[in-house]
Point group: C2
Chain length 415, copies 2
């Protein structure tokens, strides 16, 4: 590891320019971005990213699902060191979630090329095609799953958009052949380091610009449906109703209270609710809702889910309602590679960037990449902890600090 | 009052045939009906009703909002005795809510004509055009409001459908001129008696076919919106969230519990909920919901609303959420005319129909008609208390019993 402690220069004006230009693809209002995978806005953004990689002197390649790779070839055939994140967004999200990690990777590799020349290991920046599930609720890390060979042969036909089309249809519409997805698989990646906004307020509360992430929380999504007896809102006495909205309200309150009482870092969110028939004067027939519940500790996570399921059963039985649920996604907690974590901690210190170490409460492409490579993450402070909204914001100073830690980390791993 | 105790004959086969034929307009599945005002199905049903009135020897007239009247002219110029109900339905509702009252009025007037000849007062059957607010959430008794002169000049442009069109546009599309609505006003009605299914389980629990209704409950609809801070479902700790779904769930549970604890006949229903942005992985920004809260006693009703509003304020303030609400409709309790109530009680006894007296928990056209006429209602037992669903059902025996009480009541008032 030559020159590990050299100060890495990052051009903050160029950082800001790149973020703003990328945010123009799918711009909503002043600061929002709505850019779902394989949409026209997404095509614009991936074209922009490819051009920016080329302008930085990297070899550009697009793989079978539309991930865009910018490669700085190493002097040896050792496995590659990769950084990046997803280029799709919520509808609308902001300028930073995902996009910042793709931009940071590109700017870090550009800086290494300019300031350190050819690395020992190949170093790559990547814009992953999809992570948010904002167009296909089941897409489930489409970009990093392709890279890790985790897309099953039937998936392209089984992954269905909110508006009904399959992801296979959406791929064909932008010139990608779903049958070639296996070609996106990589087995030559040694390490993957992802920079991302924190998406929570912990760094802001601690007054720190950057965190090294030592684990990603375990996530489960339930889709539940609670059914009762539809009736007239006026003429049916309260004491003999089977009102699924009453059951839902009690369950939602209880789930939220359970996670709150368990304490940080347990979180549970009811984010999606559909009532049928959804008229003011009718006791509903059923309420469909989602539960997103997370914990980075495997045992505490199991306990959280047991309490949630027990509550749903108890409320439904007591109120004479029927309930059923499906687990729509289920990701075990994903610890970071301890070696990369300590490398990142060390180089952050060497670069003079104050930091803390924390677990991620959000899921990230890194936890997919962990199946083929050593992984770790870097978080950048997020104003008010906001994300998945046009209001998300990270200062250029914090972003530059994050990119310097990222570049120094990639340097330590690849040079 | 000649022959008050004469047994009134009602042809149960003809009753059944008429109900089933009317239900064919807007039929959904085996027993459902979806018939919103001014739709093609509604036109079919009103045409059918007009033909059936003509076939019964009544003078048919359609007024400016599309109410259909069948008139049996009296021998004097005294004010008329009218019966009827609305011909529109929920989407879907069943065969009986509203439609049964229009059919019963027609069959009762037909029976009086056949069995008693010309009345002293004019007797009329009416199919009112709209009561359910199932196409226009603010239509608010469009048919009976036209008859009572309660549609304001700007209303036709202000009443907007769920799908965006104004009721003025919908009227013009079926050949009605909104400017002529004032012509539908009547000032020559003495009494209005409405037969309706109960829409609740009280008659079924009591084992009785028919009720005389001595009051209609007071109703208020609120539309409320509770707003918090949209955020990532994973990375934002529970203890510092401003989650409007958590606030909504606590409020909905509390409202329902308040009405339940107040006891019969208080009822409160949360029937419509819209979450924004409504994605599993996002703490929502806001939840919009409706509250339908009813009590037939003016003082208890005021107390119910005070408790509801207090709860909403308290939960929102405690959880750091913003809440606002509008009162979308507000109907005072409407007592029936004591003279007609005692007449109906007497003739039910004379006709040998077992009955009870109760308040209506549902709103009805009668409460509008009460502004220009003496009113009362007759309820027919409803299986499982169901209404506003394809499952609503009343037996032909119970319906015939109800029509006999109605006919005997109209006879007592008009002959």
């Amino acid at each position: 590891m030559p020159n590990p402690a050299k100060f890495i220069e990052i051009d903050s004006a160029f950082v800001e320019k790149t973020i703003l230009e990328l945010a123009s693809f799918g711009a909503v209002g002043e600061t929002g971005v709505s850019r779902t995978v394989y949409s026209p806005e997404w095509i614009g953004a991936t074209d922009y990213y490819a051009k920016a990689c080329a302008a930085a002197g990297l070899d550009v390649r697009r793989d079978a699902v539309g991930n865009v790779w910018g490669r700085l070839k190493g002097s040896t055939s050792e496995k590659a060191v990769v950084s990046g994140s997803h280029i799709d967004s919520q509808t609308p999200g902001g300028r930073y979630d995902g996009a910042l990690g793709a931009v940071a990777a590109l700017l870090a590799v550009k800086a290494l090329k300019e300031q350190f020349g050819t690395p020992r290991r190949t170093v790559e920046a990547v814009a992953l095609c999809e992570e948010e599930s904002s167009r296909f609720p089941n897409a489930n890390y489409w970009g990093s799953r392709a890279v890790t060979g985790r897309i099953a042969p039937g998936d392209p036909e089984r992954v269905i958009a909110f508006s009904g089309e399959t992801i296979a249809e959406a791929m064909r519409a932008v010139g990608l052949d779903p049958a070639r997805i296996p070609e996106a698989r990589r087995d030559d990646i040694d390490s993957f380091v992802e920079l991302h906004i924190e998406q929570g307020p912990i760094l802001e509360q601690a007054g720190l610009p950057v965190a090294v992430v030592d684990a990603i929380t375990g996530i489960r999504h339930y889709r539940a449906e609670i059914s009762g007896v539809q009736n007239h809102a006026g003429a049916f006495p309260m004491d003999i109703r089977n009102d699924p909205l009453a059951g839902f309200a009690e369950i939602a309150s209880g789930l939220i209270n359970t996670a709150h009482r368990m304490g940080r870092p347990a979180v549970t969110t009811v984010g999606r609710v559909l009532v049928e028939p959804n008229f003011p004067g009718i006791i509903p027939a059923k309420v469909e809702f989602t539960i997103d519940a997370r914990h980075p500790d495997a045992q505490a996570r199991r306990r959280l889910y047991d309490m949630h399921e027990g509550l749903m059963r108890e409320v439904a039985a007591r109120r004479g309602l029927e309930i059923e649920w499906q687990v729509m996604l289920d990701h075990e907690p994903s610890p970071s590679d301890p070696g990369i974590v300590s490398t990142l901690q060390r180089v952050a210190g060497e670069q003079g960037v104050p930091f803390m170490t924390m677990a991620s409460g959000a899921g990230h492409d890194s936890q997919q990449m962990a199946s083929i490579a050593k992984v770790a993450m870097i978080f950048v402070r997020s104003k008010d902890g906001r994300s998945h909204t046009p209001d998300e914001f990270s200062s250029v100073e914090d972003i530059v600090a994050g990119i310097r830690v990222l570049a120094a980390g990639l340097h330590a791993l690849a040079y």
